[in-house]
């Protein structure tokens, strides 16, 4: 896997370099800035696809690419690790950010200064969080991502943004404190923060320190769960995301996925089901939290009238579904949930991008021309005298917008025939299981009921908003759509169409991902086996001798553990 290893660093370095270049471009040359932004984002997408391709093609232990930053061998330095899960998330980032960058080029980038550098820094933070193999480095990339997101959330300014941004920042600073406390406890117990090293040492923690280990992991998980918008820690999400400008909100959909990814990684590495003691610690809590989040999100969707609020609550629904599905501990459910993660992220981002064009149908400022020249009078009986409505074509823009809205609704609600339905059906199938005689656990039954309810509520809410925006008579205008804006929505929706057509290979990929997540040995092996290049002055380079993985004896504890 040596050929791939240098490629792993590109998703972090490319946005950083692009941001540095974009800083140097004056505000008067925004078109150039937009071009560089889109080019860098597209480049990131292509690198992500290349990594995914190679990780998928390579079999066995080779399917994990490890890059040792600064050439420090495994437990000492920080490793960037691209496994199947990271590669999938990188592609997710690539597609969504391409959509957001295209949309921003249509005009939102002009709403304030430094949009493009912040955008790239945010991408760097998200990509880095997905790639890093070290818990403290995960914290650093979280902070990079959040610092950029604070700026992006305030992009365009205005009281609603500043007010919700203030709450958003305060909550996230608190969460960062929790993150650090959790990290410190884990370090105190195990004497290491490298994810692979933690995974080997967690089995060796003596029973007396188990409580501390659990406390540290739980505090860390709490910090991550705040980012994943778990109820009741998600009151910051809806105001912040609805106040943010359109492309920023679409990009922010990725941030809750970073939280979900981190909890998955942390949980699978620290408490795998194969472990003798404290296997799947906290699984029950994750299940309850996921179910509560799902219920909260579903009710929120139903209660929302505005399209941006519906989209924001859909993010919460997604988070709840993912956490509860992962918490079932079944490989099939996790695989289906990963498929759902990809599909729903694309769909909700597309929905966020459509909020503003749909609202343009209500304002004259962006109007091309009215949809109806003479609106039928209230007293006209349209069944008998259809003259006012007959023979008039829809303007192209409103037809395209309506079709895209329909596709988005089907995807977000999980109705056939698109990938939203396929992924939800896969989750439900996995929960029920192959054996009809086997009893379904209560939590799984509740999850099924809530999933179906969430779909129903989302359908009701989106149809209601659609009727209000596209069908109700009076005062509507065909919006003027720019080509790049339509392209942005098209990128995301066609990604979902591809997911629908190629559902089987994608599901096979996510199944392989989930299988290997449930047995973290190859991950640990790959990180430790990554060779550091011998320097010119150190010919007799000796690799670090580590305790055997998952041995249940206590004598393997390192002496440097306090």
């Amino acid at each position: 896997m040596n050929a791939l290893a240098p490629l792993v660093v590109v998703p972090v370095v490319l946005p950083l370099v692009a941001a540095a270049v974009l800083l140097l471009i004056r505000d008067s040359r925004r078109r150039l800035g937009s071009l560089i932004n889109i080019a860098a984002t597209l480049g990131g997408l292509m690198v992500a696809v290349a990594i995914l391709w190679q990780v998928n093609v390579a079999a066995g232990p080779d399917a994990i690419a490890v890059h040792l930053t600064s050439n420090w061998a495994a437990p000492f330095g920080i490793a960037l690790v691209a496994d199947r899960l990271s590669a999938l998330m990188l592609v997710l980032v690539g597609v969504v950010s391409t959509g957001a960058a295209l949309y921003a080029a249509a005009g939102w980038a002009r709403a304030g200064s430094y949009f493009h550098p912040l955008f790239q820094i945010q991408l760097m933070g998200i990509n880095g969080a997905f790639l890093t193999g070290d818990f403290f480095n995960l914290f650093v990339f979280f902070e990079v991502m959040l610092a950029a997101s604070y700026g992006l959330q305030l992009h365009g300014s205005g009281w609603p943004r500043v007010r919700s941004g203030m709450h958003y920042i305060a909550v996230n600073l608190l969460a960062s404190s929790l993150f650090l406390v959790g990290l410190a406890i884990l370090y105190g117990v195990m004497g290491t923060l490298s994810m692979a090293d933690v995974a080997t040492k967690v089995a060796l923690v003596p029973p007396g320190d188990r409580g501390l280990l659990h406390a540290g992991a739980a505090i860390l998980a709490m910090a991550v769960l705040i980012k994943a918008a778990v109820w009741p820690l998600n009151s910051w999400l809806v105001p912040a995301y609805t106040a943010a400008s359109t492309p920023v909100a679409a990009l922010f959909v990725l941030m809750t996925k970073v939280g979900v990814y981190s909890i998955l990684r942390l949980w699978m590495l620290l408490f795998p089901a194969t472990m003798a003691s404290s296997a799947q610690f906290g699984g029950d809590f994750l299940m309850v939290a996921g179910l509560a989040t799902l219920a909260f999100g579903a009710i929120g969707v139903l209660a929302s009238i505005r399209l941006d609020r519906i989209a924001a609550f859909s993010i919460i629904v997604t988070s709840g579904t993912l956490l509860a599905s992962f918490a079932t501990g079944s490989i099939a459910a996790s695989a289906a949930a990963l498929f759902y993660l990809v599909s729903s992220t694309f769909a909700v981002s597309a929905l966020f991008l459509m909020v503003e064009p749909v609202q343009r149908t209500r304002s004259e400022r962006h109007a091309q021309r009215p949809v109806y020249d003479n609106i039928p009078h209230e007293d006209d009986n349209l069944d008998d005298q259809q003259l006012p409505l007959v023979g008039r074509a829809f303007p192209v823009s409103i037809a395209a917008l309506g079709l895209a809205y329909m596709a988005c609704s089907l995807l977000v609600a999980g109705l056939p025939p698109l990938s939203g339905f396929l992924s939800k059906a896969a989750i439900l199938t996995a929960i029920v299981g192959d054996d009809p005689a086997a009893a379904v656990p209560t939590s799984a039954g509740v999850l099924m009921a809530l999933l179906l309810c969430a779909s129903l509520f989302t359908t009701i809410s989106l149809v209601r908003a659609g009727i209000r925006h596209f069908w109700s008579a009076g005062g509507r205008f065909a919006p003027r759509l720019k080509l790049v804006e339509s392209g942005a929505v098209l990128v995301l929706i066609s990604a979902c169409l591809l997911l629908t057509v190629f559902a089987e290979p994608v599901l096979r990929y996510t199944t392989a991902t989930a299988t290997y997540l449930h047995a973290p040995r190859p991950y640990v092996q790959a990180v430790f086996d990554a060779p550091a290049r011998p320097g010119p002055t150190t010919p007799d380079y000796a690799p670090y001798e580590r305790a055997p993985y998952n041995s249940a004896t206590d004598d393997g504890m390192q002496a440097d553990t306090p």
Partner: protein, 114 residues
């Protein structure tokens, strides 16, 4: 020394949490600062508390926390301080912007009848 440090961390953390829950933006930012002090001290204490120990294992010594002080928490706390400082500074700017928009220092921008 352990008891003293634990007390200091507890008092800082408790005061920080109380201040964060107050309705004035300045109190919130002070609370966040106190909390970050508490967290930084906590990280620092994870590397064992010792005086006069070099952060390196001298030749002939056993790699034992009795004879050296762990340098990793010191590096971690340095990073945490820098990041916490930067984000708090950014938060201050947002507070000032909020003050400008709403004309009050209430966290929700509400004018109360004081």
């Amino acid at each position: 020394m352990e008891v003293l440090l634990a007390l200091v961390i507890g008092v800082l953390g408790g005061a920080g949490v109380w201040l964060v829950l107050r309705p004035r933006t300045f109190q919130v930012v002070m609370g966040l600062v106190l909390l970050s002090y508490a967290v930084n001290l906590f990280i620092f204490s994870m590397g064992s508390l010792s005086i006069d120990h070099p952060p390196i294992v001298a030749p002939g010594q056993t790699a034992d926390l009795q004879s050296y002080s762990d340098p990793v928490p010191q590096a971690l706390v340095l990073t945490a301080i820098v990041i916490g400082f930067a984000t708090t500074a950014l938060f201050l700017v947002v507070l000032l912007a909020a003050r400008g928009f709403s004309g009050t220092d209430h966290v929700d921008g509400e004018r109360d009848a004081e």
